[in-house]
């Protein structure tokens, strides 16, 4: 699915293709550079060991970027101009974690000039602990529908 979206391909209850991502310290370091967020809790293992977290953790926004990736992969360009997220960060993601990012369509609402697709979002680690939960919404203008 890309430039335009086909309304008939969306159904309430439908699951979005799951994404798996393994977090590594190297990626966290790369993200720190790309995002200019050099908080030592993310990149300084010695510092992080002596905090209540007990070690480095990934930037919440890195994990949220994976959620956005899943949405963009499924909905294409319409995600970039009509996407929305409302999430809570529930637990940290740590180097070595394997994250599972999942989504499910909760509601499809037809309006005069667009449709809105609301999705349940869940990101959990290999221990089934919830890292991020919340909702995503995609607003697709009629001109972007097939």
């Amino acid at each position: 699915m890309n430039a335009a979206a086909n309304l008939n391909s969306f159904e309430v209850g439908q699951s979005l293709p799951e994404m798996k991502k393994q977090i590594t310290q190297e990626e966290i370091n790369l993200y720190a550079k790309a995002s200019k967020d050099f908080n030592p809790i993310h990149i300084d293992e010695k510092f992080a060991r002596n905090t209540p977290l007990g070690g480095t953790v990934a930037h919440g926004m890195l994990v949220l970027a994976y959620v956005s990736q899943m949405m963009a992969k499924y909905f294409g360009r319409v995600w970039l101009i009509g996407g929305g997220l409302n999430v809570r960060f529930k637990a940290p993601a740590r180097p070595g974690d394997v994250l599972s990012i999942q989504g499910k369509i909760l509601k499809i609402q037809k309006e005069a000039d667009q449709i809105s697709i609301r999705c349940d979002i869940l990101c959990s680690n290999q221990k089934k602990e919830i890292v991020i939960s919340g909702e995503a919404i995609v607003r697709i203008k009629n001109e972007n529908l097939n």
């Binding site: 967020d37 970039l80 996407g83």
Partner: protein, 141 residues
């Protein structure tokens, strides 16, 4: 990263108030900036690789960076929530400007709750994203 403005001095929590506006920060999304973001997030979607588009989360990351550069966050600060709305396509070469202001500041026991509204525009003054960031800070500040 193409930073256009100097980073502001950090503001302490006790100096903040509802409606406090941080100095805007601008960034140019040149190809090296975007490539670094795509590599860091292992993003391989064709819409970025071939169409010269920028993931909206890359602009969000820079908006968060401008916030991080502006507020003195004590150890123990937790980023608890995030709302975002993507409104316009972002292209390689765009210059974005990030605005942020305090929309909630509440003391609750040993914690401070703080929300910040963010807004990002491009060089044409088109709004490209808006959002709200929620933080919990330890009440030692």
């Amino acid at each position: 990263m193409g930073v256009k403005m100097p980073e502001p001095a950090k503001v302490e929590y006790h100096q903040l108030y509802l409606g406090f506006e941080f100095p805007p920060q601008s960034y140019t999304l040149d190809i090296s900036t975007v490539s670094a973001y795509l590599e860091a997030t292992k993003e391989t979607n064709d819409i970025y690789q071939s169409d010269g588009l920028v993931p909206p989360m890359a602009a969000t990351a820079l908006a968060m960076a401008s916030l991080g550069a502006a507020i003195s966050m004590p150890p123990g600060t937790i980023h608890v929530s995030q709302e975002l709305e993507f409104l316009n396509l972002i292209k390689i070469g765009d210059t974005i400007t990030c605005f942020s202001k305090i929309s909630r500041k509440q003391d609750r026991g040993s914690l401070h709750l703080m929300n910040t509204d963010i807004e990002v525009i491009n060089q044409h003054r088109e709004k490209i994203l808006t959002g709200k960031v929620g933080f919990i800070l330890p009440a030692t500040v």
